[in-house]
Amino acid sequence: MGVTFLDPWAWLLAAAVALPVFIHLLARHRSRRRVFPTLRFVEATTLSAVTRRSLQDWPLLAVRVAGVMTTVAALATPIFITPSREAAWASRVARAIVLDDSAAPPDDELRSAAVGATFARSHTRDAVSDAARWLAEQRPAHREIVVLSAFKRGAVDAADFVGVPPDVGIRLVRSSNGTAVREREISRLQLRDEGVVRVLERLTLGPETTGIREVRADAVSPLPITVNAAPAEQEAADAALRAVLRRGLRLPPAGLLQPIVVEWTGDVDSLAASLEARLAAPLDGWEPEPMSDADLSALSRPATAAAGARPDDLGDRRTLWALVLVLLGLETWMRRGGAWT
């Protein structure tokens, strides 16, 4: 069990503990004059003022010092740290949820936090800054920023979290970019039994699954791809082209507009690579690759107990004030020589 203080500056007043000693030392310079019938029985050895530099009543001084120190401790607003209180503080979390798209924050993220708020800005970095400012105003034991995003490559980086205090945890939760199901159409050229067809497929991108459905297959004739080869190799080149088409050759979304001619390089793979290079084109509407889990882990960190976190005043000072009253009573009792009357 420990103790912490909400107003530790009050300990500056602990210098007042010297007051009882000062009072004692000052008193020797202000001795009261008293006319006495005779001094014949007063011992000469006790008359030196030096003797009063020593403290004659240690218990009384101890009680007075304890009274001063207890008063100062009460002014410093103490909080006794008990195991049960520590457990309660550890369970308290202030959570700022940063949304970088239209996704709604999971209910359980907000529900499990003692205090929570969501922040959505056009730039993740601005939202993270807002979240950090909001957390700085909270009084929890643990504070964390949860970034909810699909985390497309380049969506967040370490620079976005530079302004976040080190005790604030960062947790990156991958979302499915919202709940909307997006569809894309792709086409490919494929050699089937009936001949070369242009297959149109519909790609459905859901939060959890991806579906591909063939919409239609149109016969392509004549074949718009020609492989130039030496006459002796033409047959092998044509066979290689058929092999490539049998595997399927992805086409640009707009389809193959003009016939293309490629040179025969001697093997099927190089022919396939050559054709894909010729047909390659930006896939309009395709998402960038997501950040890897390793990237996200590198940016994440756990929340630690905030150094500047101020627990709420739990009224423990009342205990010390009661102790001060007890000490005052004891001091009065001792000054009166152990009697109340």
Partner: protein, 302 residues
């Protein structure tokens, strides 16, 4: 307890049933309860002695002559009244807390008892410098009320006590010396003082005893001077010499109290050895109780 007057009614009423009986014989002028040192032919039978020619025949005990065939003359002890002189210490050392008020009360109570029982009481108090004489140019102020009896004198006696004020350094020894010069007949001398000049006082009291006086020592002290009860350092000023000493009662108190106790015991022993009656009265104890204890023991001794 504050004393607004010399003796409180309770102090007087509680002691009226007691008689202040002189332990030793005193001489007086009137018949009374007290034995006279002179053997005469008064009311109280004393002893027989053989008849001598010239004795008054009316004092011959004829019944004894019939039984023994010898002539005896009856002798009587003359009884007389008591003449008490209260020697009151009015030195500055008495001006401490309620000590002087206590001294006035003691004197008033005992004086009232003496006068009420038909005896005579007077006061002598010397105020001034210790050992001062007219020859030295320092004439002390002497308050002297001759011993008389009667209710009118009681009023004068009490008012005289009330007028006394402490001051000066003249000690009880000065008062006792003055009493020795003033007293013409043997009587009761009641010395009321703190007796801090005990050595000189004992000399004077011995002198009075040798003169045939019955000496009673009433030592009055304040409870505050029995101990050094005070908080913090105190600069004590000797009431009579003006000497100052700074003391810490917390440390010096125990030794002081022991010394005072030892001195009181020693003084009581010295007084007892001289055959004087002694009573210690302090402000810590009810006056009635101390005086009753004293008077009862004195009557028993008589």
């Amino acid at each position: 307890m504050s004393r607004s007057h010399v003796a409180t009614p309770s102090e007087l009423s509680s002691l009226r049933d007691l008689e202040l009986v002189a332990k030793t014989t005193v001489e007086g002028l009137r018949q009374g309860l007290h034995r006279s040192p002179f053997h005469g032919y008064s009311a109280e039978f004393s002893q027989y002695r053989h008849y001598r020619p010239g004795d008054d025949l009316k004092y011959v005990d004829w019944k004894a002559f019939g039984r023994t065939n010898r002539l005896y003359t009856r002798q009587f002890r003359e009884t007389t009244n008591l003449s008490a002189l209260f020697v009151v210490d009015v030195s500055r050392s008495m001006d401490f807390e309620r000590k002087f008020a206590l001294e006035q009360a003691v004197t008033a109570v005992l004086g009232t008892l003496v006068i009420d029982q038909g005896d005579a009481a007077g006061i002598v108090a010397v105020r001034g410098e210790h050992g001062a004489t007219a020859a030295a140019g320092k004439t002390p102020t002497v308050t002297y009320l001759p011993s008389r009896s009667g209710h009118h004198h009681l009023t004068v006696f009490l008012s005289e006590i009330a007028r006394l004020r402490p001051g000066g350094t003249a000690s009880i020894a000065d008062g006792l010396a003055r009493a020795g010069r003033l007293l013409k007949r043997r009587g009761l001398v009641v010395a009321v003082s703190d007796f801090y000049d005990d050595a000189e006082a004992l000399v004077q009291m011995r002198r009075l005893a040798r003169m045939g006086h019955d000496v009673v020592v009433v030592q009055t002290l304040a409870a505050e001077e029995l101990t050094l009860a005070a908080e913090g350092a105190v600069e004590l000023v000797d009431a009579e010499t003006g000497r100052t000493l700074v003391v810490q009662p917390v440390t010096a108190g125990a030794a002081y109290a022991a010394r005072v106790r030892a001195w009181l015991d020693s003084f009581a022993s010295s007084v007892g050895r001289e055959g004087f009656d002694y009573v210690l009265v302090t402000t810590a104890e009810p006056l009635e109780r101390a005086l009753r204890r004293f008077l009862v023991s004195r009557r028993g001794a008589a």
